[in-house]
């Protein structure tokens, strides 16, 4: 990397991170080097820097920490070198940067729109500062890839799905019951979150960040707060950081309980659904009673937390109950031949493919991708807690279920450790002003995978751009692979085993 002669500048914060501004010609060699050394693409976004300058930002991660690259582009020729040949998951991100900012990846094979359907015209770009919010009337006509051959037919599904799920479109090409190809089309719940952050206050932004993906509200709120704190070089009090970890682990437990219930339901084992959801409801009620919100929304704020822990006894009792009940339910599920028959071998993502395409988070760990930000880059209090990472090699529904169980037990252990070691002290460090022309990154291992928030300020210290990145960006394309060769009725089960976010992706 040194041969590229980049001037790396360290970024403040608990996670090791550095940034560099580079020339267009340096982007591909640098990405290639990081990929060859086992690094991954975390996120890619663009910004309007004013005065006819656009910028492309690329966040990479390797075992040493985060690398953030900035590429400045003149308005006359807003193009940059395609990196989707190196990191395939960049493809949809690059298409989105074009939809939102009109900055294109030169030489990319897929130039179709991604998040833009028909809400705004093709030559209008919402994240440009001169965007005038023109309403488009054009028809929405997306060119899906057609599969041809004798007996091949299509099943279009969505955007409104059959169950209580977020909207998106799945185009299955099938022969008999077997899936030959799945093509996803997302963007239906694009509601302009990125634009909404612009020129709004730091604290409104915290509320908004907590609603990028409701099931990951604490992960987003923490990553957003971390980005602001890192930029302003403010460290929240120890107690606040420990409480944040408590909230994050409770969010992980709640989501794993809910999904394990649905994974039982999707194989017609309704007993599992009822049992896991009873446990989840008890946890949510404890959240409401102790912290004032069932999902802990708005409890993590820039500078610290908005609520203290009134007493630990309720949560300690909850830990005992959860551990006992989940252990019992796990043994029932594992001994149930009908359940295991559906789980084992369904929706397999081999470790090699997972590595090539950048599968991350919980689903990545179930396909031998050993990344967990709490383990690799532990900030307070995770340095003390020493998280044990759960991984598996099989990459099927059964492996994702096993990883969920193990993470659930680990989060229960972490919750006990946090309750035992919670330091005394304040809940909030003052954070009102951000520096001018600042840049901050926050990364948190949410239950689904790593959530990244990037924050930029203008010369006056106002928020000029926030980019929240959901791990679903990396994982949605793998779902298209996981379903191949499986039968259509197994799709809900396979889909639920990933449980990816639509809102967090569509923004």
């Amino acid at each position: 990397m040194n041969s590229l002669n980049l001037a790396w500048i360290p970024l403040p914060g608990a996670i090791p991170a550095r940034q560099a501004t580079l020339e267009a010609a340096q982007l591909q060699p640098l990405c290639r080097k990081v990929a060859d050394d086992g690094g991954r693409l975390l996120a890619l976004w663009g910004s309007d820097e004013g005065a006819g300058i656009f910028a492309l930002h690329v966040a990479l991660v390797n075992q040493d920490g985060l690398l953030c690259l900035h590429l400045l582009l003149a308005q006359e020729s807003p193009v940059y070198p395609d990196i989707s040949q190196i990191f395939p998951c960049a493809c949809r991100m690059q298409r989105t940067v074009y939809d939102m900012l009109g900055v294109a990846a030169a030489g990319s094979a897929d130039q179709r729109p991604w998040l833009r359907h028909a809400a705004w015209p093709v030559d209008s770009f919402p994240l440009r500062k001169d965007f005038d919010a023109a309403i488009s009337q054009e028809a929405d006509d997306y060119p899906f890839v057609q599969v041809e051959g004798q007996g091949v037919h299509e099943i279009p599904v969505g955007p409104v799905h059959a169950g209580i799920i977020e909207p998106g479109h799945f185009r299955f090409s099938i022969i008999g019951e077997r899936v030959l190809r799945l093509e996803e089309r997302l963007g239906y719940v694009h509601k302009g979150i990125e634009k909404r952050f612009e020129n709004n206050s730091l604290f409104f932004g915290a509320k908004l960040a907590g609603r990028v993906s409701g099931d990951s509200t604490t992960a987003y709120a923490w990553a957003y707060a971390m980005a602001a704190e890192n930029m302003a070089c403010v460290t929240p009090p120890e107690r606040a950081l420990w409480l944040r970890a408590l909230f994050l682990e409770r969010e992980r437990i709640a989501n794993h309980l809910g999904d394990l219930g649905y994974l039982a339901n999707d194989v017609a084992f309704s007993f599992g659904m009822s049992q896991f959801w009873i446990l989840k409801e008890q946890l949510l009620r404890n959240n409401a009673a102790l912290f004032g919100h069932r999902y802990l929304m708005d409890k993590i704020i820039p500078g610290g937390v908005a609520v203290d822990l009134p007493d630990a006894d309720t949560l300690l009792a909850e830990c005992d109950l959860l551990e006992h009940e989940v252990r019992l339910l796990r043994s029932i599920l594992e001994e149930h031949a009908g359940v295991q028959d559906r789980y084992i071998g369904a929706g397999t993502v081999e470790p090699k493919l997972a590595s090539q395409l950048g599968l991350c988070g919980l689903a990545g760990r179930a396909s031998a991708q050993a990344w967990d930000a709490r383990v690799q880059f532990p900030c307070v209090p995770y340095q003390t807690l020493e998280v044990r990472m759960a991984t598996h090699r099989n990459g099927d529904v059964a492996a994702r279920v096993i990883v969920r169980f193990e993470e659930l037990f680990e989060s229960i252990r972490l919750q006990r450790e946090i309750l035992a070691g919670l330091p005394a002290g304040d809940l909030l460090e003052a954070l009102t002003d951000l520096p001018g022309n600042g840049f901050g990154l926050g990364m948190v291992e949410g239950w689904r995978g790593e959530v990244l928030v990037a924050m930029h300020t203008d010369a006056a210290g106002n928020i000029s751009r926030v980019y929240p990145h959901d791990p679903s960006w990396q994982n949605w394309p793998l779902l298209e692979h996981a379903i191949l060769g499986n039968i259509v009725p197994d799709f809900p089960l396979i889909n639920k085993s990933f449980n990816l976010s639509y809102s967090g992706h569509d923004l």
Partner: protein, 170 residues
């Protein structure tokens, strides 16, 4: 099998009493006659459309079907097809990319039908508001009978909203 039966017996019945209807949730005039509401109220089928939520409201809609709230025990169930539905439940600010899908789903529900807007975004646009990508509250796009505020509304409020929609004004 023994373990499953033992666990079911040990769990017992968790279901709690249902809440009462709340007139303050009604968004406008009651459009359906009392006789129709009485019929719908005994077996109501709901179609949900997430028109642009953060998925928080969906978490609580799932929760109303857990053993504590047991919405289905009141004869109220979620259905896959709008053709089978009596009530359209809408969450989220309406994204412009979901505007047509929402209108078409409503049109596919046979009359007489009801619409409940669920959550702060559906009631007033919430944190997302109106923008190039968002139409704002649900009533900007389709007529609404009952609104349930909250971010997200708790399961009891959701049940109250649905029960208000199918109850006649006193």
């Amino acid at each position: 099998m023994y373990q499953i039966l033992k666990q079911i017996i040990k769990t017992g019945i968790k279901t709690e009493p249902a809440p009462l209807a709340d007139e303050t949730m009604r968004a406008g005039e009651q459009r359906l006659q009392q006789q129709i509401l009485a019929v719908l109220g005994r077996s109501l089928a709901i179609r949900l459309v997430d028109a642009g939520s953060c998925n928080g409201c969906e978490l609580e809609i799932h929760a109303v079907n857990n053993a504590y709230y047991n919405l289905e025990g009141l004869g109220i169930k979620f259905v896959a097809s709008p053709r089978h539905a009596d009530l359209l439940l809408v969450t989220g600010t309406v994204s412009r990319h979901m505007e047509v899908a929402l209108q078409r789903t409503l049109a596919a529900i046979p009359e007489p039908r009801l619409v409940v807007a669920l959550g702060d975004c559906a009631c007033n646009g919430g944190v997302f508001g109106e923008s190039y990508a968002s139409c704002g509250k649900v009533s900007n796009v389709i007529p609404v009978d009952v609104v349930v505020s909250g971010c997200p509304p708790a399961p009891l409020a959701i049940m109250q909203g649905i029960l208000t929609a199918i109850s006649a004004k006193k």
